[in-house]
């Protein structure tokens, strides 16, 4: 999924705007519709769609029955494949993994664990109090993984944004073979991330072209910082063109006349960029940043394949840590970890939507009415 997420970005980016646009009317609907809507559409209950809709039908007079056929399958699929597993993971996270009981030396089946799985991750508590997890245990790797994930997200999204704006301004000019260039920049995006990772692993191999160009034997896949930068370089290569296309689409909404007027008034290229381009492209940019950030926070394929998917790798992200824990057979603590990852990403998404998304929607709205100019 991580590899395939870019498009969700774009698609969901559309959603931010669309939902924002429709928000006013629909919020009123939702309010009047009351709790029934909330329960039925929220997913997560994992119940069969029919029951949910029966309730909805009895509650809402004049309900359009065709909606069941139009919207029902989507709700059922999302509830079954996303809602149900999330609930199940939350339940599993409060169970004990089976294993040797340190007190008795006996193999035990598990049972209710309370918050001990969460304590292992958050406090590094492997049974001997806070920070008792020693190097080599996964509990030791939680905070480093969180740190690396956020480090990747901040660096890659910043670099991709700056480079993406530059690429978009170049691609927005008129020159021969414009559409050819657009096709060319889609290629990094279309290559599966797994292939991208292998390709860059080859480029960064000890005898690979990167070291030959630099003329120095850098251990790109084993040295901690070199491997982190290898991941960042590969991710920036893969995603920047896509970001540029999103920004370009925003750029092309800006009427040419504005630039001409500015030119007549004697504005320099830099002034035109900072006074016209940046403010007007901001909504599209914010949405792109929002979804790139979400994407970077769930990064998995690239570091896992490029530099290894063990918990102790210097490029272990939160997602990699979950599967590393799963591979050791710790399904319940892995569930606690995945629940934590979910909560962390949800919080970040909430904050970003609040500061970027909402702002983007408002700016877009103002722009439409002409208020932003």
């Amino acid at each position: 999924m991580a590899g395939s997420a870019e498009a969700d970005d774009a698609r969901a980016a559309a959603g931010v705007i669309d939902s924002g646009r429709g928000a006013r009317a629909d919020v009123e609907h939702a309010h009047r519709g009351g709790g029934a809507d909330r329960k039925s559409d929220g997913g997560g209950q994992g119940g069969p769609g029919g029951g949910v809709f029966d309730r909805l039908r009895s509650r809402v007079a004049g309900f359009d029955k065709r909606l069941i056929w139009f919207v029902g399958p989507t709700v059922v699929v999302l509830a079954a494949v996303i809602g149900y597993p999330v609930v199940r993971a939350a339940y599993m996270s409060f169970q004990q993994d089976k294993g040797l009981d340190p007190d008795t030396g006996m193999f035990v089946q598990g049972g209710f664990a309370g918050l001990s799985n969460y304590k292992t991750w958050l406090l590094g508590d492997c049974g001997g109090g806070a920070w008792s997890c020693v190097p080599g245990t996964l509990g030791h790797d939680f905070w480093p993984a969180v740190g690396i994930t956020f480090f990747f997200a901040v660096i890659t999204v910043s670099v991709e944004t700056v480079l993406g704006i530059w690429m978009a301004t170049v691609m927005g000019r008129s020159f021969l073979g414009r559409s050819l260039l657009r096709a060319a920049v889609l290629i990094p995006w279309a290559i599966p991330t797994a292939v991208t990772a292998k390709l860059w692993a080859f480029i960064f191999a000890p005898d690979g072209i990167a070291n030959k160009i630099i003329g120095q034997p850098i251990a790109w896949t084993t040295d901690p910082w070199a491997s982190r930068f290898a991941v960042i370089i590969a991710d920036v290569w893969k995603t920047t063109p896509f970001m540029a296309l999103l920004i370009l689409a925003g750029l092309q909404m800006i009427p040419n006349e504005l630039y001409e007027a500015a030119r007549v008034d004697g504005a320099t290229a830099w002034q035109r960029f900072t006074r016209i381009t940046l403010p007007l492209v901001k909504p599209a940019l914010m949405v792109a940043v929002l979804f790139r950030t979400m994407d970077a926070l769930r990064m998995y394929d690239l570091p896992a394949i490029l530099t290894g998917d063990s918990g102790a790798s210097p490029t272990t992200t939160m997602s990699i840590l979950v599967t590393a824990d799963m591979r050791q057979g710790n399904f319940n603590s892995a569930s606690a970890l995945s629940t934590l990852v979910f909560i962390i990403i949800f919080i970040v998404a909430f904050i970003l939507v609040k500061f970027l998304g909402a702002n983007a929607v408002r700016t877009q709205d103002e722009q439409r009415k002409g208020g932003a100019l």
Binding site: H29, V81, P85, P192, F202, F242, A249, I345, A349, Q364
Partner: protein, 322 residues
């Protein structure tokens, strides 16, 4: 300064970019070419050569950026194994040996069956996601109903969802019901991942289609479903096609869930390439891996080159519309 121009400019911009017959065909409208109009500033006031040079320099940098690593993969894939680490930037010592190595099953890599698996998983996922998505997209684009905002939010949330939160419970669930090693264990989660994409792309295309034809059909006595099937669906065919390409590419590229929920018999290409190994564990068979990567990528690259405009318009549709 802008106040004078504001309203007409906005309208002109929107008309040029997002309306017109192209909308109905679902073609590349939004990122359409906008011919640069001649500047009102007399040419003598500008340096005539520097902007053009700067543009083409930028174009060259972007081209190299996008193509160089990919080019390197293809070159190495066609190069004799003993020359894998050569630094010559043009094709030399060409051979097809690496491709037959990549498809060779004797060292335990079953790449051909992985390609078949990916085709099955991608094809079925795309078809089902489109079938489900078109109806929901229709409802979002054309019908007013309670909870519409909420539904949009749920779908948006699903698009932003971290798939890793599903791995553990799905692994246990599919293990319990004996689905590991079955195609549906990969197809069903993939459907839920491409559904948001499908719905958003189709919704934005459907909202661009003119209402009037459908209305006319209904005035003539067609039911809503008939109008949908006989009027809207043929009009939406290009949009469906675009969405299908996108959905297929995403399913083809999915790695994380596949790496946990597949086994030898259902392994898709992404996992197969990550697990690709040589006859021994001392050397990584990069030549064969690059050949395998080329095999996996070439169909996508061809699709991207042919349908470039559709793909770009599909990806950016709605995202930046005002």
């Amino acid at each position: 300064m802008a106040g004078r121009h504001r309203a007409p400019d906005e309208d002109a911009g929107m008309d040029a970019e997002s309306q017109g017959p192209g909308g109905a065909s679902g073609g590349g409208v939004r990122v359409a070419e906008r011919p640069q109009e001649p500047s009102p500033v007399p040419a003598t006031h500008r340096r005539p050569w520097w902007p053009a040079v700067r543009t083409y320099l930028g174009v060259a940098v972007i081209l190299v950026w996008g193509l160089a690593p990919f080019y390197w993969m293809v070159i190495v894939a066609f190069r004799e194994r003993s020359h894998t680490y050569d630094t010559t930037p043009w094709p030399t010592n060409l051979t097809l040996q690496n491709f037959s190595d990549a498809l060779d099953t004797s060292s335990g890599n079953n790449f051909l069956s992985a390609i078949v698996n990916s085709l099955i998983i991608g094809g079925v996922t795309t078809v089902i996601a489109l079938l489900i998505g078109i109806f929901t997209a229709y409802a979002l684009a054309r019908m007013e109903f309670r909870g519409k905002f909420l539904l949009t939010g749920v779908i948006l949330g699903a698009a932003m969802f971290p798939p890793v939160a599903l791995v553990t419970p799905l692994f246990q669930l599919f293990g319990d019901i004996g689905w590991i090693g079955q195609y549906q264990a990969l197809i069903i989660p993939n459907i839920s991942f491409v559904l948001p994409l499908t719905i958003y792309t189709l919704t934005s295309f459907l909202s661009d289609l003119p209402w009037e034809l459908e209305e006319a059909a209904r005035v003539d006595g067609a039911t809503r479903l008939q109008a949908f099937r006989m009027v809207l669906l043929p009009l939406a065919a290009p949009a469906l096609f675009t969405t299908a390409i996108l959905a297929f590419i995403f399913t083809w590229n999915e790695y994380m869930l596949a790496s946990q929920l597949s086994n030898e018999s259902t392994r898709p290409v992404t996992v197969a390439i990550a697990l690709f190994h040589g006859p021994n564990s001392f050397t990584i068979p990069y030549a064969a891996i690059m050949a395998a990567g080329t095999l996996v990528t070439i169909p996508l690259v061809i699709m991207v080159l042919i349908f470039q405009r559709r793909i770009v318009s599909g990806l950016t549709a709605g995202g930046v519309k005002s």
